[in-house]
Amino acid sequence: MIASEPKPLDEILRQLENDQQVFVVACDGCSAGCKVSDPEHTEQMVKELREAGKTIAGLARVEMVCNAGLTALMLMQHLAAVNQADGILVVSCGVGIQTVAAAVEKPVHPATNSTYLGGFAGLWRSDPRCAECGDCMLDFTGGICPYTACSKGLLYGSCGGPNKGKCEVDPAVPCGWVRIYERLASLGKADRLKAIPPLRNHRHMLPAGARRQTSLWALELFEPEASEGESKAT
């Protein structure tokens, strides 16, 4: 499983700056287990979005958002509301967010940071991948993760390596940053690449010792408020 924590509301609202009508996709899988996307916390977030002046065009709960078929089916059922929305807010891990981005030609925004890969035996992470970096920037990159889609994990755009859109490391693999550019261009948002995001904070990727010892911390021990203090202590 992939553990996640909610992004702060002000960060979510910054992402939604240009989106009045918001469609929410919430996962009933791992992130619900982390008490991030479970019905209670999703409703709370929706309430806060409404209070902040956003219109909720619709809400879909999907058993596992990482399951592309299931997610596509659910989006089809809400087709009118999805079409009406300016953007889609996804409450799931990074894999689920990228699954929604791949399924729909709308800006997709992460409501979470994925922080940790727990070990449910036999469960293989699906493609697209999430690096559990704890600082999700899928909003900035059009729903394609640069840490995992770029061989170098670059934050600031394509290196000089891609040859005809293919990665220098493996010509069979499309360049992650060319994909991000094409995705943003198709959404009319390529100019977003003019912004230079903050440096990656690797402390988010180093769980405190206590967390590392058990994959259940997210389910039983994790307190979102404590995360800042804990990461400082590492």
């Binding site: 061989s151 290196c159 000089g160 891609p162 040859n163 859109g165 550019y181 003019k194």
Partner: protein
């Protein structure tokens, strides 16, 4: 004259790269650099080029500096995290090195240690930002420096004939925004394509030096077309090299001296330099082992 002064005062600026050895005999690289004395405004020293382990760029630049030459330190982000990169910027500075070309770097898997851990904690844009921060007296974490490398002169690269080009242009703007004061480019063989690139970025005032890689054979040109990102050698140039190769083969069979390939390569490079001269601020030569032919190229270009 410093490289920075040359860019500010000269209409057309030439730079050339040299490569440190895989070993400890510096004779060859220093001789190649010596050939460039008085002919170029700066000498780039590559940083573990093609991800192959060798003598460092900092050490080689320091030796060039001691010889009274003007080194341009190339720095890639593949092998060091943000602490080491910033430390090396300061270390280069205390050795008298002022010019730094900031690159992301080839991936480790393309080099001679393919099993190594690729770092890429920073990339070209964030390395430029780090350098720009140091110039202003702060490190990347916002800590004050107790003394400041005020004269650090930072540059970046661009691939002007990349396909698709737009991601490169966005990144070029970000590099300039982050502190790049000069730009050297990937190899250009198609001056028409380069002209189109320059027309795409009329707002860019940062000096751009177009890259020139000496062609060594028709085979090399075909290889680059197939495998090297953003490099396109037009057919007529490949044909020219192929014909020169055939003449050399015939000459060798007759027991004569074979020099057509070298002469053709020099002529092509000189022609490219002349054609590029009205389009940009200078050229950056990458001879890839043919450094001894660079003086002939510059002579043939009649600069």
């Amino acid at each position: 004259m410093s490289f920075k002064e040359a860019l500010a005062t000269q209409d057309f600026v030439i730079t050339c790269e040299v490569a440190p050895p895989k070993g400890v005999d510096m004779k060859h690289v220093l001789e190649e650099a010596e050939l460039l004395r008085g002919k170029v405004a700066g000498i780039n020293v590559t940083d573990l080029q093609a991800a192959a382990m060798r003598v460092s760029s900092v050490a080689t630049c320091s030796l060039l500096k001691q010889m009274g030459l003007e080194p341009i330190l190339q720095m890639v982000c593949r092998d060091r995290n943000r602490l080491a990169l910033q430390s090396d910027l300061l270390s280069a500075y205390v050795l008298g090195i002022r010019n730094v070309l900031c690159l992301t770097g080839d991936h480790t898997t393309l080099g001679d240690h393919p099993d190594a851990k690729p770092v890429f904690d920073l990339d070209s844009v964030s390395l430029l930002r780090a350098g720009q921060g140091l110039i202003k007296g702060k490190d990347l974490a916002g800590n004050d420096l107790d003394s400041v490398p005020t004269d650090l002169f930072l540059g970046a690269i661009v691939t002007p004939c990349a396909d698709p080009l737009e991601p490169q242009i966005y990144k070029l703007h970000n590099k300039i925004e982050a502190g790049a004061r000069f730009i050297q480019t990937q190899a250009v063989y198609d001056t028409g394509a380069f002209e189109k690139f320059m027309q795409r970025i009329p707002e860019v005032k940062t000096p751009i030096l177009a890259g020139i890689v000496l062609l060594k054979s028709a085979g090399m040109a075909r290889y680059m077309n197939a495998n090297v990102a953003g490099v396109f050698v037009p057919d007529p140039l490949i044909k020219e090299m192929a014909e020169a190769g055939k003449k050399d083969k015939d000459a060798k069979e007759r027991g004569e001296k074979a020099s057509h390939v070298v002469r053709t390569s020099i002529n092509i490079a000189a022609r490219l330099i002349r054609d590029l001269k009205p389009l940009c601020h200078g050229v950056h030569l990458m001879p890839l082992g043919w450094g001894h032919h660079v003086p002939a190229v510059l002579e043939a270009a009649e600069l």
